[in-house]
Structure formats: C-alpha cells, structure tokens
Amino acid sequence: MPHDHHYDPLPDTELRVRALESILVEKDLVDPAAIDLLVDTYETKIGPRNGAKVIAKAWTDPDYKTRLFENASAAIAELGFSGVQGEDMVVVENTDTKHNVVVCTLCSCYPWPTLGLPPVWYKAAPYRSRVVKDPRGVLAEFGTTLPDSTEIHVWDSNAELRYLVLPQRPAGTDGMSAEELEELVTRDSMIGVKVIAAPA
C-alpha cells in the first residue's frame, strides 16, 4: 500500500516489469538505451530549475510577464522548455490577496518541461483528495499559513492543460539579478503549496 514515501511494490511488480521489458525488447518495441537516456534526462536535465528560470524572468522582465499570461506555452518555449506534458500551459499569479495551488485530482497531471516529474505526494491520494476540500489545512501541512483575507484558488490540472504558479517575489530582493532570483524559486512554490521566504 503506498503510504507517503515508503511505499512498497505489489508482490509481482518487479518480475512483471522485467518480463514485459524482455518481451518488448525482443519484439523491437522498446530500446533499453533509449530508456536509459530518458531516465537520465528526467533525473538530471528536466526539473524545477527550468521553471525557476521562467519565474525569475517574469519577475525581472515585464514584457516577458505579459507574454507569459497571453500565451504561457509560447513564452515558456522561448526559454527552451516545451514538449511532452507541457503542451498547453497556463500560469496563475499569486498576489497579496490571491494565492494559487495546483493539483490533479484525477491522476497526476503536472507540467513536466518546467517542473520535471511530480513528487510522490503530488501523485498520492491524501493530497489529491483533500486539497480541493480543505486547501488551508493542506497548506498548513506544508508549513504555509496565509492570512484569512487571502483567497485561495485551487486549479485542477488535466491531461491537456497544466498550471504553473507564479509565486510572489519576496521582499528584500530588489537588487538581485534574474540568476540570483532563480536560486530562491522552489518547486513547491510553483505548485503553490509554499511561498518563497525573503532571503536571510
């Protein structure tokens, strides 16, 4: 049973994977070298650092931010991030009065080109079931407490449409470059379960 991060596979999962892989390789439908390359790409190249570049640019380049809201997929592709599971992107902006948080209640839809593959908690039942019903309670589990006056908007992703949260730029960062700002942007802030703390 998958419970948080210490989930165990079902009894014959590993054997079934090896069997299916072996059959598909024999039938020339799967190339083990291609799989290794894909795994490496998603382990080392495609991840939340991509999304952080989008956010930092939006904070520092007003024209880019305008383009990001007009056509997020195209604006994100300007930075070189596009493709599978990020074809149709929508960016939602956090403000003093509005906070956005993203879920996929039906499965685990997630913007791969900007955030990489989703964490286990995003794919698991507790988050998916509860964030639409008790968003403040869920945010509190991530250590995020917002003023009662802040409206929380929960966006339910689907197979076609994926959301990226534009977090608020933290106070005390006026003099920072886009490169320095990128370092402050976290995966969880772009899902919307956390806010970005002001640099110490």
């Binding site: 049973m1 419970h3 991060h5 014959d12 299916l20 291609a34 799989i35 039906l106 286990v120 794919k123």
Partner: protein, 103 residues
C-alpha cells in the same frame, strides 16, 4: 468514468507527508515503466486517451494498492494485450522463466 481515481473531495486518506530531497525514481523497476511510455507512444501502441482510459479501468482495489508507476504498468499491459501486441500467456511464461533464472 466515475470510479476510485476521481479522488477530489474524498476523506480519510491521512496525512500528506512530503519527502525532503526526494529522488526522481524510488525503485529501479520504475525506470523501464517510465521509458515504456515514450517507446509505446512513439510506436503508436498507445496514445494519451487510451492510456488514461486504461488507468481508469484498473479496478478500485488495484488502484488503491498500487503506486503511480504500477498504475502505468497495469495500463500498458491492458493496452498491449487488447492491441494484440502481447498475450497474457506470453507475459506469464516470461515471468515464470525469469523467476526460474533467479532461483
């Protein structure tokens, strides 16, 4: 389809427990399953819609007991068998063979 995968608003699944510095993959067997997605998509054996439909047909118990990539594995098996690419007998025979190799 209306079934267990439609989890929004359900209660009783417990705390979220996010993991710090989580690895992209948690088990080696997850990696080939992830790779199958691209290979089978490129080969035309699956598309996003039939994949989604196959996940929704997994059965409630399997859906709850299995993890993310196990859902994918179940969906691939369903679609490969339905599409005539492999048979359940072939998979069972290969599992028996591999199990024998391990002993």
């Amino acid at each position: 389809m209306n079934s267990i995968h439609d989890m929004g608003g359900m209660e009783g699944f417990g705390p979220i427990n996010p993991e710090e510095n989580e690895a992209v993959f948690h088990y080696e067997w997850e990696k080939p399953i992830f790779g199958f997605f691209f290979c089978l998509f490129a080969g035309g054996q699956i598309n996003v819609d039939v994949f989604r439909h196959a996940i929704e047909r997994l059965g409630n118990l399997h859906y709850l007991e299995g993890s993310y990539y196990e859902h994918w594995l179940g969906a691939f098996q369903t679609l490969l068998v339905e599409g005539g690419t492999v048979t359940i007998e072939e998979i069972d025979a290969k599992m028996t063979e591999l199990k024998g190799d391990a002993n």
